[in-house]
Symmetry: C2
Subunit: 229 residues, 2 copies
DNA sequence: TTGGGGGATTGATTATTATCAATTGGCAGC
DNA sequence: GCTGCCAATTGATAATAATCAATCCCCCAA
């Protein structure tokens, strides 16, 4: 692994206060791998071999049931995933695939559990990381149960606008099929909901979207700090 | 706190390997309180003062948005709640209320964070507990996104039947209004879905339910070990 | 025993969402 | 430039779920 990549990982909150020794031990067993777009990295139901960290590219977490599939999360660098399965040494509840060419750091699960037992700072950071992840899922669940699909889209737009620099433009970096699944709707309804939002300050400018009247969009979306962000 | 109650808490996986000293310290600042039915214990948006543990009775975790409310979980003894908020020292994302008269053990949040820093076994147990909770929410999210309301009810019935002793009977211990909310449907649709399930091996016997043909119910419910349990 | 009262059920209607089908619209490769 | 392909859109319809309204059914108190 190159120095730049190692530094990137070192800067993760997860490793922030871990001793140099333990960090080096973790990294010595880890490896960084490149994957093309569309590769399934893990499959729900399998047992965890590695803790995964997205270093570059985009990864989709999804789950299937009865010939249906839904996107549960879309991860960007630098994010860990399947931490809970690694800690519990229990089967994955989600699958993961690359949405773009990606670089993934993989740390053998036993090494993670070992470092956890020996490094108090790492243990503390793991708890914190898990707590953050836990709260993210709770937000997603509230989003699903308390909003309809148009509201979910509107709030996603508001979040993306902020994430992409508050310049009233949102470029769609993932394909609409995946976005629809992430937002809990069909691609058809994503189209229709997007068309509906033209009544609430959103317009299409080519492949991207523009928020012409963010106050109107906010009024429709009713963003809530205990659901979004 | 009485010895019997202290023993109950001591037996929680969360405290299993914690040193006697640290456990006693935690308990010395904790207190056990009785609440009548229908009391709001915590309110989403507030900052956490205590880690809560249901020692007796039933507690509903719920959230509100735009004059709607949804039940996110229903807790029975012995379960901790709002652990993630305590660890992060961040606002609650859920509210909690008693559904029955209940006994709640409350441990001051700073004491929890303090014990976490000083007792490795406690830290390990906390991570494990959080990982378990995390996986529960992921299951809930999958349940919501991958099943319709009748399927959610059918699977809930199967789980309750197992939980209540595999005797093909399920007694409704929480009121239907709350159950409907928990299952992500209106009380009206809970009624209708229950009526529909008579086609799939379920019958009403007074206030309780009977599963006359569990194979038929399973065929309809399509239980999935990566969603249920 | 007899009324209330509140939850539960049922019915009718509307809203939301999914599905299926047809069409459009880019865009890569020729 | 064409052509074909695939995603995106649009339309029509069906399935699912929420809402509103009207009973019904218990259980409890007088």
């Amino acid at each position: 692994m190159r120095q730049a990549e190692s530094d990137l990982v070192r800067a993760l909150p997860l490793f922030e206060n871990v001793s140099e020794k333990h960090f080096d031990e973790l990294m010595s067993t880890a490896f960084l791998q490149r994957f093309p777009r569309g590769v399934t990295l893990i499959r729900e139901g399998d047992l965890p071999d590695f803790l995964h960290i997205v270093v570059e590219g985009t990864v989709e977490l999804f789950a299937s049931h009865d010939s249906h599939e839904t996107a549960l999360d879309i991860l960007e660098p630098v994010t860990t995933f399947i931490l809970a399965a690694v800690i519990r040494d229990d089967v994955y509840l989600k699958s993961a695939r690359t949405l773009t060419p990606a670089q993934i750091l993989m740390i053998p699960a036993p090494a993670v559990r070992n470092a956890f037992d020996r490094d108090a700072a790492f243990a503390r950071a793991l708890v914190n990381e898990l707590a953050v992840r836990y709260r993210c899922v709770v937000r997603s669940l509230k989003n699903e149960k308390l909003r309809n699909s148009a509201e979910r889209l509107a709030n996603w737009l508001l979040q993306e606008e902020a994430h992409q620099g508050n310049n009233r433009r949102v470029s769609l970096e993932i394909d609409k099929r995946t976005l629809a699944s992430r937002l809990g709707m069909t691609p058809e309804n994503l189209s229709r909901n997007l068309a509906q939002l033209s009544k609430h300050g959103v317009s299409k400018s080519g492949a991207d979207l523009a928020i012409d009247d963010i106050a109107a969009l906010r009024q429709f979306a009713k963003p809530n700090s205990l659901i979004d962000q």
